[in-house]
């Protein structure tokens, strides 16, 4: 084994050790998060079912994440298509401004949004979180959808119009099915980002906490920690399933249209 391999191994252990600890302590019969383990139990999972505040926060998070995913993907479709097909003045500047939230510190985005919403007289709540999340998710959606739209041969759309289809019909029958893998990826990525986003949600949530905000509030009570571990385990399993689904969809789309497999998540 040479140095690089050892480095890679340590790197992987570092990356995944915390995630492996999650299910271990979720099934551990004891409130102290430390070895040695004290026996196997599923009581943290059943306790999970009884905490109403937790259920509410999960619902809030799902609500925010689903709506964020849809909006940022819709905006991403418009922006990616405009970028791939049209030439307009100050195109680079406009695109740059849209992509900027990708690199802006989230804390700055969160504070500025809070000030703007309050001075506009908005009631902060789930919809202000959604607005904030759409702001940070849209650049990701555009980045994903850009490659889909740029890979699309413009003459394919022209051919559909030439064969009697309207512009809208062409978009529906030709463009949309061909960029569908990109759309699915964008939905899933935006969903995931919104789901575990903390800072913006923390500043803009008001009285309706999302899951990460709720979890943070629970860290003050050590005896609640195993329940959080149990929830984390469920989330990890769900994330893996979603990722597998996204990748399967993407590969299916590629195979169906006979395109070369370039990139992807896995």
């Amino acid at each position: 084994m040479n140095g690089l391999r050892i480095y890679a191994l340590i790197y992987l252990v570092f990356l995944y050790a915390p995630i492996i600890l999650l299910p271990i302590f979720a099934f551990n019969d004891g409130t102290v998060i430390a070895f040695p383990l004290q026996g196997v139990t599923t009581k943290w999972f059943s306790e999970l079912m009884t905490v109403n505040a937790l259920h509410d926060s999960v619902k809030n998070s799902l609500y925010v994440a689903v709506i964020t995913a849809i909006f940022s993907t819709l905006l991403g479709i418009c922006a990616a298509r405009a970028q791939a097909r049209y030439r307009f003045p100050a195109k680079k500047g406009i695109v740059g401004l849209i992509m900027l939230p990708l690199v802006l510190p989230e804390i700055i985005v969160a504070v500025s949004l809070l000030i703007v919403f309050l001075s506009l007289g908005f009631n902060i709540g789930l919809w202000t979180i959604i607005l904030g999340h759409v702001l940070i998710c849209t650049p990701f959606s555009i980045a994903i959808l850009n490659s889909s739209f740029q890979n699309l041969d413009p003459s394919i759309e022209e051919a559909a119009q030439d064969l009697g289809e309207t512009r809208f019909g062409t978009f529906l029958k030709i463009t949309l099915p061909l960029v569908m893998p990109g759309i699915v990826s964008s939905l899933l990525i935006a969903f995931t980002i919104s789901m575990d986003e903390f800072i913006i949600a923390f500043f803009l949530s008001g009285t309706e906490p999302t899951l990460p905000v709720y979890l943070w509030s629970q860290l003050r009570f050590p005896q609640r920690l195993p329940v959080v571990m149990a929830l984390g385990t469920i989330l990890v399993v769900l994330s893996i399933l979603i990722l597998i689904l996204a990748e399967a969809m993407r590969r299916y789309g590629l195979r169906r249209s006979g395109m070369q497999d370039k990139g992807g998540f896995l």
């Binding site: 394919i156 051919a159 119009q161 030439d162 064969l163 009697g164």
Partner: protein, 362 residues
């Protein structure tokens, strides 16, 4: 009968003038080609007919109807794209049937019959279930043809349809396209940069340079009587020699050609309104001949030296430096039985015919 009229068509992209005053009529059932180097505006012209580009000034009329403000999906034209633009998520039959989607008057069975007929016509019967990406280049081309022809357009537009195919397949498709055009009897407009392809396939050819039509003629006239040096050198191989028009009075045009000497030209060899002065004449390689040892000729003879040669198997191309001119002329000779291939530096005699000369407009 006239199918397409272009009347003073101009197209600007910003300040760039892509089409300059195009006037053109194309007949019903004609195989018409737009020929020119890349960037000459031939594809732009095709796209203005298809409706993908609007004209800045001027008018396009198809089948007696003005096409101003008529979008591509409402025009009686269909197009075969350079990339074929096969819909990758649909199979062959679905691709071909795409244009029938809006035809409410046809039931499913009638549509299937039409699709089968169209596939049959392009030699793809039985390929309906094939996925689009499982097709070869030639097959994609055929699908694109079937997809366009199934709508029975008045005009079929072909944008460099053969440029992506290898030589053998291209030649096969050239004759097949010709056959198909005769069979369906509609107007075909072909865009190509391949002069040979245009000559083989077309009834008439418009040669375009820099957004203008330089010459519009049938293949034989275009090859034998190119209007100027640019057209002549674009179509096939053309030897261009400096010349001086001595007398130009009515039918009498007397020209002194460098390397060949004084000749009399008939009016059909000259551009209209030829004037005295410096110009060029053109002569094709196959209208001149190397005289091998012992051969005699009662035609005109010029002397020169073999400067370079290229042996093609069936033909040999000689670059011969004629006495008195610096630039060599190309002469093509068939490699007949017993005919030797000369070597560089050898002296030779060249036979030429003044009937094959063409005087260029300067």
């Amino acid at each position: 009968m006239t199918m397409i009229t272009l009347d003073g068509v101009e197209k600007y992209y910003g300040d760039y003038r892509a089409l300059r005053g195009i006037n053109l009529t194309i007949g019903e059932g004609e195989f018409f080609s737009l020929l020119g180097p890349s960037g000459c505006g031939k594809t732009t012209l095709l796209r203005t007919i298809a409706g993908f580009e609007d004209v800045t000034t001027g008018a396009v009329t198809i089948d007696g109807k003005t096409m101003t403000n008529v979008p591509a999906n409402k025009r009686p034209t269909n197009m075969v794209f350079q990339s074929y633009a096969i819909f990758p998520h649909l199979n062959v039959a679905e691709n071909v049937a795409f244009g029938l989607r809006r035809r409410r008057d046809l039931n499913k069975k009638a549509k299937n019959t039409l699709v089968e007929d169209a596939l049959d016509m392009v030699g793809l019967d039985g390929f309906g279930d094939r996925a689009a990406h499982a097709l070869s280049g030639g097959q994609r081309q055929r699908v694109a043809l079937a997809r366009a022809l199934i709508l029975k357009p008045k005009v079929l537009l072909l944008d460099e349809p053969l440029s992506a195919l290898d030589k053998k397949l291209r030649e096969q498709m050239q004759s097949e396209l010709r056959r198909l055009q005769r069979q369906v009897g509609i107007t075909f407009i072909l865009v190509t940069h391949d002069q040979e392809e245009a000559l083989i396939m077309s009834d008439r050819i418009a040669v375009m340079f820099e957004g203008q039509i330089a010459q519009l003629a049938n293949p034989q006239t275009l090859y034998r009587r190119p209007i100027n040096r640019k057209v002549g050198e674009f179509i096939g191989v053309m030897n261009t020699l400096p010349a001086q028009v001595k007398i130009a009075v009515g039918a009498r045009v007397s020209v002194d050609v460098a390397g060949l000497g004084p000749v009399m030209l008939t009016p059909d060899q000259c551009p209209s309104g030829a004037k005295t002065g410096e110009t060029h004449v053109g002569i094709r390689p196959e209208t001149m001949a190397i005289l091998f040892d012992g051969e005699t000729s009662d035609g005109n003879i010029a002397n020169g030296m073999i400067h370079e040669l290229a042996y093609y198997g069936d033909m040999t191309y000689y670059d011969v430096k004629l006495d008195g001119i610096e630039r060599p002329v190309t002469i093509s000779m068939k490699n007949l039985v017993g005919r030797p291939v000369l070597e560089r530096g050898q002296r030779t005699r060249v036979r030429w015919d003044e009937r094959s000369l063409v005087l260029f407009k300067e």
